[in-house]
């Protein structure tokens, strides 16, 4: 029983972080209606940024959390503005512009291979102030980096939800997500909103990068590992839903951690996909998704 509770605690912490990796994806999808295949690469960029920042300056990972996301925001903002926007404009008449998806795939390949060229294929970890630290909670062991990752994920999700509800920019994002034509008519600059959404999504990938780096390693194709999970989580939670992404992440984290106490851990992967299929059958729009007409 101890092992199961221990596993559940770990599953919740990891799950929140999976949710965090999916948040940016769901935000970009919700607003732009584009599946961003470069999301994993953006996470990789976030992890490498955190890695180099901590490695070179030796700062505390919590401090990196204040530096990396803003940089990534700017990076994402201009990536959308310079690379993706022209394609969007060319495909103005199309409801779900397929070419944009292909462009994001291109960005994925370019970023991954750029990282491969610059940093090589090896795995890198950096010893931070909180790496390998853990504290005891009764008879359970809680890992410090994972616990802070959990807290960061919760705060990010709450902050994002608040931002979307309370601020003018947030409302513009939501309006565009609901109906981009109507939002346009109301005087919202659609492409600026896209830039912001993409920037925010990338900044969240930066947060995830800072949170993962104290206990996980980084290498150029690290994004792929998290990406597949992020896609499942986004669909599970409901496309474009912030609480959905968090809940989806928790579900995956719990399944992965708890189920592997009772069976070989290779099986949990199969179970995740099985549950995913069942949910798609029962509730095709996911936990918090609503039927969309686009």
């Amino acid at each position: 029983m101890t092992a199961v509770i221990q596993a559940a605690l770990n599953g919740i912490m990891m799950g929140a972080m999976y949710g965090l990796t999916a948040l940016g994806l769901t935000l970009i999808f919700g607003v732009m209606k584009v599946v961003n295949f470069a999301h994993g690469s953006l996470l990789m960029v976030g992890m490498f940024s955190a890695y180099w920042l901590i490695r070179l300056t030796g700062i505390h990972p919590y401090l990196a959390l204040c530096i990396v996301p803003p940089i990534l925001f700017v990076f994402g903002y201009y990536l959308q503005d310079v690379v993706i926007k022209p394609v969007f404009k060319a495909e103005r008449q199309v409801r779900e512009p397929l070419t944009v998806i292909i462009v994001t795939t291109g960005v994925w390949y370019v970023l991954d291979n750029l990282a491969l060229m610059l940093f090589g294929a090896e795995y890198r970890t950096v010893r931070t102030a909180i790496s390998n630290k853990s504290f005891a909670l009764g008879e359970f062991i809680i890992s410090v980096p994972k616990f802070s990752g959990f807290v960061a994920a919760m705060l990010t999700a709450a902050g994002l939800a608040l931002f979307m509800r309370k601020t003018k920019t947030g409302m513009a994002l939501r309006a565009t997500s609901l109906d981009r034509e109507a939002a346009n008519l109301m005087g919202i600059d659609q492409y600026r909103v896209y830039n912001i959404a993409f920037g925010l999504g990338t900044a969240i990938a930066g947060i995830a990068g800072c949170v993962l780096i104290p206990f996980y390693y980084v290498y150029p194709s690290v994004g792929v590992v998290f990406d597949i999970r992020a896609f499942i989580i986004v669909v599970l939670g409901g496309l474009g839903s912030i609480p959905g992404a968090l809940l989806g992440g928790l579900v995956i984290g719990l399944i992965e951690s708890v189920f592997s106490q009772f069976m070989a851990s290779t099986w949990t992967e199969a179970i995740i996909y099985a549950i995913f299929l069942v949910i798609l059958f029962v509730k095709p729009s996911g936990f918090f998704g609503h039927k969309q007409d686009w």
Partner: protein, 415 residues
């Protein structure tokens, strides 16, 4: 004016180059190259070991070419052609096909991952192109009656045999009795192959198996597996891990405060030079089985390692030494074959008896293939990660004859 000048200069250069090509034409034809195709994981989860193998090959081939190439073939130079398997069997097969059909390579080597090597060697066998396997330890690779497949490294049944010999020897030496054993292995061909043999050996030696667990190498989190391991309370933990998961597993075990009496790994990820860098103190006490260690007592080993380290910035590993030696095995066979005809090269490889030369920095005494294509002399050593001068270092501990002078293994590593 300026433009005109550079234009004419360019034309002059082009003309000179053209002349040079014409003049040098016949000389080039005599100066032939022999192409060696290499299928290695250059990206994906095993990329770091793939790149080590690549660099070891490059160093060997540079040396061979600098020493005059293959003399019986007019000083023919060796040329390495690489293909990235991404650790994926399907990619490995198509890349082997491509190397043979499009690149027209004379030999193939690779592929580190057993799961990739198994089908890739099948392709080479079908085309009748010699395939030299430096490392990929699954037994069955050389047990299919193939004529064109040769393996330099020891096969995994030998690895397992020696792991259990080590456990027994150490228990006899220290008088410590260990009974409960746990198996934790990556779920690829390599891990499952090891695990099958572990079960047999553990039964034979009277160990109680308390956990027998495969895990995916690409896992984002190994805490669940470590939690499970912790509640099984093993004395001995046997591991087969690739590079990334070896790091994650070691750090997670430290984080979860799990300290088994003996942790015995099987090379691969634990032997990766990046492993110690990424785990540091957490790796202390771990035993690892390798084919080679920098403190191995062989002529030329130290110099070769220094040269390699200077060139690429890290130490040679058992696997890169095998890749290095494989190039010399190939050069030796090509020299004796005096031809690039696949049949003749194959026959020369089968007749290999290499006991001298730069290749002999390996921990064993020679390369000689039996009728299945397996190097009969391949051997293994066991090392322990110990703190030497304040830094974790890999120290040879077994066989006792090879143990570093003055070192007493910590067995059990934890109470």
């Amino acid at each position: 004016m300026k433009k005109g000048f550079s234009g004419s200069l360019l034309a002059g250069c082009a003309g000179a180059a053209l002349c040079a090509v014409f003049l040098a034409g016949p000389a080039f034809a005599a100066d032939k190259t022999i192409k060696i195709g290499n299928v290695e994981p250059l990206s994906g989860p095993s990329a770091s070991v793939g790149i080590q193998g690549k660099q070891a090959r490059e160093m060997a081939v540079e040396e061979i070419n600098a020493a005059g190439g293959i003399k019986s073939q007019g000083g023919a130079k060796l040329e390495l052609v690489y293909a990235d398997s991404k650790s994926d069997p399907t990619v490995g097969v198509t890349e082997t096909e491509r190397l043979i059909n499009t690149e027209k390579v004379n030999l193939v080597t690779g592929c580190w991952n057993s799961a990739v090597t198994y089908p890739a060697t099948q392709v080479a066998e079908r085309y009748g192109i010699p395939f030299v396997v430096p490392v990929a330890v699954r037994d069955t690779i050389t047990e299919r009656g193939f004529k064109y497949v040769f393996r330099v490294a020891a096969k995994d049944s030998w690895w397992v045999r020696d792991q259990f010999r080590f456990l027994k020897d150490m228990q006899d030496e220290t008088g410590v009795k260990l009974t409960k054993i746990a198996f934790l292995f990556e779920n690829g061909d390599w891990g499952t192959g090891f695990a099958e043999k572990w079960r047999e050996m553990a039964k034979k030696d009277g160990y109680e198996i308390v956990l027998d667990e495969p895990y995916p190498s690409t896992a984002t989190d190994l805490t669940p597996v470590v939690t499970k391991l912790k509640s099984a309370r093993p004395d001995i933990v046997m591991l087969v891990s690739n590079a990334a998961d070896a790091i994650l597993l070691t750090n997670t075990m430290a984080e979860m405060q799990l300290k088994p009496k003996v942790v015995l790994a099987s090379g691969g990820g634990h032997a990766d030079p990046k492993f110690l860098e990424n785990t540091d103190q957490n790796a202390l006490g771990i035993f690892d089985e390798v084919e080679w260690n920098t403190d191995v007592n062989k002529a030329g080993a130290k110099a070769a390692n220094e040269k390699f380290k200077k060139k690429y910035g890290y130490d040679l590993t058992g696997e890169s030494v095998d890749a290095y030696a494989a190039m010399y095995v190939i050069a030796d066979a090509l020299e004796r074959a005096a031809s690039t005809d696949p049949q003749k090269v194959r026959d020369a490889l089968a007749a290999t008896n290499l006991t001298a030369g730069p290749a002999m920095i390996v921990s064993y005494d020679g390369v000689q293939f039996d009728e299945t294509g397996q190097n009969k002399n391949a051997g293994i050593v066991i090392i322990q990660v110990a703190e030497i001068n304040g830094k974790p270092e890999r120290v040879t501990v077994w066989p006792k004859s090879a143990r570093r002078a003055g070192y007493t293994p910590a067995f059990p590593a934890n109470k």
